[in-house]
């Protein structure tokens, strides 16, 4: 049985292509056009001069963590360990201490996130019942010179802090009634 093959037609060169020089001049024309368009106006250039010019991330971007505070400035975190439990990378470490307040009971003495281990999944934010941890800073973790510097403590997490007006522990009327 005769094999069937695909017949590929060869590109027929025109005279100017065979002479080569006209094509070179055409190519140089393109180069020169781009050169002058870019040297004066940056017409085709799309480069972003990175550290100075930044493209802003979308609103839903999960960036550096931050801890939120109450209206009186105290930390919202009640050290319930929900985030640490939910975290698949196990990079949140919390030590709790007693506050002596029957409503809040606990607060975080130590709150440490290892940003190198973090996979930025956002599960900690989902898990938190008090809106104490958020990832809405819109910044990614900056490069550092040592690994230790990536372990963010409470102070660093509070740098970008903000007040959250979410009602702590649910509806306060409901708590006071009971």
């Amino acid at each position: 049985m005769a094999k069937k093959g695909i017949v590929v037609s060869k590109h027929k060169y025109t005279l100017s292509e065979k002479l080569y020089y006209p094509e070179i001049f055409k190519g140089m024309g393109v180069s020169i056009r781009h050169f002058f368009a870019n040297i004066f106006k940056k017409k085709y250039t799309v480069t972003l001069q990175y550290p100075e010019q930044k493209e802003s991330y979308t609103e839903r971007f999960r960036g550096k963590h931050r801890l939120m505070t109450r209206e009186d400035g105290s930390l919202r975190c009640v050290a319930c360990m929900m985030c640490a439990t939910a975290c698949p990378a196990e990079c949140i470490y919390i030590e709790a201490e007693d506050v002596g307040d029957s409503l809040v009971e606990k607060r975080a003495k130590l709150f440490v996130i290892d940003e190198l281990r973090c996979i930025f999944c956002g599960l900690c934010v989902e898990a938190c019942p008090t809106d104490a941890i958020r990832m809405d800073t819109g910044e990614h973790v900056e490069p550092e010179y040592t690994r230790e510097a990536f372990i963010y403590d409470k102070k660093k997490l509070l740098q970008k802090t903000g007040r959250s007006v979410a009602i702590q522990g649910g509806d306060s009327d409901y708590i006071h009634k009971n």
Partner: protein
């Protein structure tokens, strides 16, 4: 005698300084220009003002400071020398590749006659009657540097690069000489200053000698085919794209200088740009009327179509001509870089085919036709 020595030293310093500066600047211009052609921005980070966060407040001088940064880096890098292979030749090869090219500068007329402090001179370091042949001779010595660099490195890629360079440069040398033969026949001399004079001469009766009454008798108008062939052959001699198989990054790491580091590699890179400058100078001299400004003669401007004349101070004319030569060199060098960033690399066999089967016959035909026309006129 003292006058002659002083003039010669001044001329050597000037032309050498110009070539070196331009070659250095070209290393940066090449990168910036390629980025403009390819819609990028290119290196522009080196600055003198430190980490001022505002882009517009940094002193960056269009990225030219990268030249300085590169130089400092090259000099302070570890000068690694090879463990095997021939270390003496390995060290000597960059010198051999770099310096012969500079000798060519001595025969290039970079200006007309100037008079300073009541002594006048031709702005040409040496006037040999063998002229351009000296340029050919020394540019072929540069092949040794490259071949030896490839051979002494004890590295397959270097050796391949060296062998490729040898065959490419030897075959294009033949072509290079033949493409220019038409020019020599027309102007009747090999001496570069005489060729330049021939390109814009006055007739015996004092009227300008022009083609069709308005075109100066520059090589580019009299020998357009030779011009095209010469550009191809000379580009092959400078080993830049599209003829850069000897260093072909994608195939041979970086060809003959794979085993080089620090300033030795810097010298190879620098030699490449110096060759571009020298090519531009020779091209300007042979085809673009050298230091001549159109319609500017020894006594001043004489415009065609009887548009009148403007007489000028001869010394001023001398300096205008020198400036014109440098300007033409710059433009040709720029155009050469454009060619480099437009064309893809030839395959190795295509290069030899182009040289032997196309440029050589065309150059020979050009010689024959020129000879016939010259004998008729």
């Amino acid at each position: 005698m003292v006058e002659l020595i002083i003039w010669t030293i001044v001329k050597i310093l000037f032309i050498l300084g110009f070539t070196m500066t331009l070659a250095g600047v070209l290393t940066v211009v090449d990168r910036r220009e390629s980025s403009m052609i390819q819609d990028r921005i290119g290196p522009n980070r080196a600055n003198l003002s430190g980490d001022v966060w505002d882009l517009s407040k940094r002193w960056r001088f269009l990225g030219l400071l990268h030249l300085l940064a590169d130089g400092i880096k090259m000099i302070f890098k570890e000068d690694y020398s090879i463990k095997s292979g021939n270390r003496w030749i390995h060290t000597f090869a960059p010198v051999l590749a770099f310096f012969p090219g500079l000798v060519i500068l001595s025969i290039i007329p970079f200006g007309g006659n100037v008079t300073l402090f009541e002594s006048s001179t031709n702005l040409q370091i040496a006037s040999f009657n063998s002229g351009i042949l000296l340029a050919f001779a020394f540019s072929s010595i540069a092949v040794y540097g490259i071949t030896l660099a490839g051979w002494s490195s004890n590295n397959k890629f270097s050796l391949l690069g060296g062998v490729r360079a040898t065959s490419q440069m030897i075959s294009y040398e033949v072509v290079l000489g033949l493409t220019l033969m038409g020019i020599f026949m027309i102007y009747g001399t090999l001496e570069l200053n005489a060729i330049v004079q021939g390109q814009q001469a006055l007739k015996a009766d004092g009227t300008p000698d022009l083609i069709f009454g308005f075109l100066p008798k520059w090589g580019i108008f009299l020998q357009p085919l030779a011009m095209l062939l010469y550009v191809a052959a000379a580009t092959a001699e400078t080993k830049r794209a599209p003829f850069d198989v000897p260093e072909a990054e994608s195939e041979l790491v970086s060809g003959f200088f794979t085993e080089y580091g620090s300033m030795k590699m810097g010298m190879f890179l620098f030699a490449e740009y110096a060759e571009v400058v020298i090519f531009s100078m020779i091209f300007t001299t042979l085809f673009l009327g050298g230091y001549h400004v159109p319609y500017l003669y020894d006594s001043g401007f004489i415009f065609p179509f009887n548009w009148g004349t403007v007489s000028m101070n001869p010394t001023l004319i001398g300096f205008i001509q020198m400036f014109m030569f440098l300007l033409k060199t710059l433009i040709v060098a720029w155009g050469h870089l454009v060619i480099r960033w437009t064309l893809p690399r030839f395959r190795y066999d295509q290069i030899l085919k182009l040289g032997w089967k196309m440029i050589l016959p065309l150059a020979l035909a050009n010689i024959v036709v020129t000879a016939i026309i010259l004998s008729i006129i």
